[in-house]
Symmetry: C2
Subunit: 192 residues, 2 copies
């Protein structure tokens, strides 16, 4: 059973990815939709929040994002590492008459400010609108986007910060190589 996503104030949206989790990028245009794994997503600004995302020119996701001008960042967790690895290893373009959501029987819920499916079972979500920067996109596969809404699973993120204690399956994951990830680990406090 999935927790109901709770809205995150936009000024704290950067905190959802500040610690460097690997994410899933979902996208849609007309009746097509897709979802892919991405490690190269990063905060760019606080408020209004902006992010950068590297999206290879050969991906189906890129095609859908350039057509719609929108995408969503879904922050997956330990319970989903097999799925994340699978979604990172195949292209949605090659699926004949279906898509990665249907093929993997993925439960989704609707975004509010864009028209892109959000993946249930993740622990945070950011709805993004592309700020067109053709030079960056064409030269570096680098997209800049404004975050227009953000949500999190309040069991592990509330009051603007992550807290994974007692939720082993809900820690964010951080890609090492191949099918291996670090889970976000011990919380450390610097002496002030």
């Amino acid at each position: 059973m999935y927790s109901r996503p709770v809205q995150v104030v936009l000024s704290k949206a950067f905190r959802l990815i500040n610690h460097g989790p690997t994410v899933l990028i979902s996208s849609a245009h007309n009746s097509k939709r897709n979802i892919m794994a991405a490690a190269w997503v990063c905060a760019l600004d606080f408020d209004p929040p902006k992010i950068t995302a590297v999206i290879d020119n050969n991906t189906y996701t890129r095609e859908l994002i350039e057509a719609s001008g929108t995408f969503a960042i879904n922050v997956p967790c330990v319970a989903q590492i097999d799925l994340v690895t699978k979604l990172g290893a195949s292209s949605g373009r090659e699926l004949d008459g279906t898509d990665k959501f249907a093929e993997n029987k993925l439960e989704t819920f609707a975004s509010k400010h864009i028209s892109v499916p959000l993946l249930a079972g993740c622990v945070a979500w950011l709805e993004c609108k592309v700020i067109p920067e053709p030079h960056n996109q064409n030269t570096y596969d680098l997209f800049i986007a404004e975050v227009v809404a953000a949500y999190a699973d309040e069991r592990v993120f509330s009051d603007g910060r992550w807290h994974f204690d007692g939720q082993d399956d809900l820690h964010t994951i951080h890609h090492v190589a191949g099918g291996t990830y670090f889970a976000a680990g011990t919380l450390l406090q610097a002496k002030t």
Copy 2:
């Protein structure tokens, strides 16, 4: 005692930051040098490796980087969280007649392809040359740089991947908020 940094092949340099660690950016120009904490640094390309870094327009680091066209990414570890927090909370510009390295009695070693001090005690280092992109720099505080050399502490990174087992003090750190960080945690393997 610090481990001797071992060269990392450039095609694997992205792996040093792929899992989203918080880093320290060191910079120098003429006789001036500085070091600051940064969470918004991200891989951009594989080979030749490129990275993005968000560097606020008000920082002393920005001034030095724009003057020299170079900087270094130092990847700190659990043993350094007090230092990282301190380096993130003060500006090197305000130090009169000294700098953050001297003030904090930091041991450094020389970079090879740029002229920027590298911080001993970190677990990875990337020497970076800015690829000038004035629009990104002026509009978004976003820098793109090529990684021209990379090194790691081989106790925790070798053969192109991180392995922190048995090295509790050398795990990378991932900024949560204020003076708190997650250590890189349990290594998970997806079913293939």
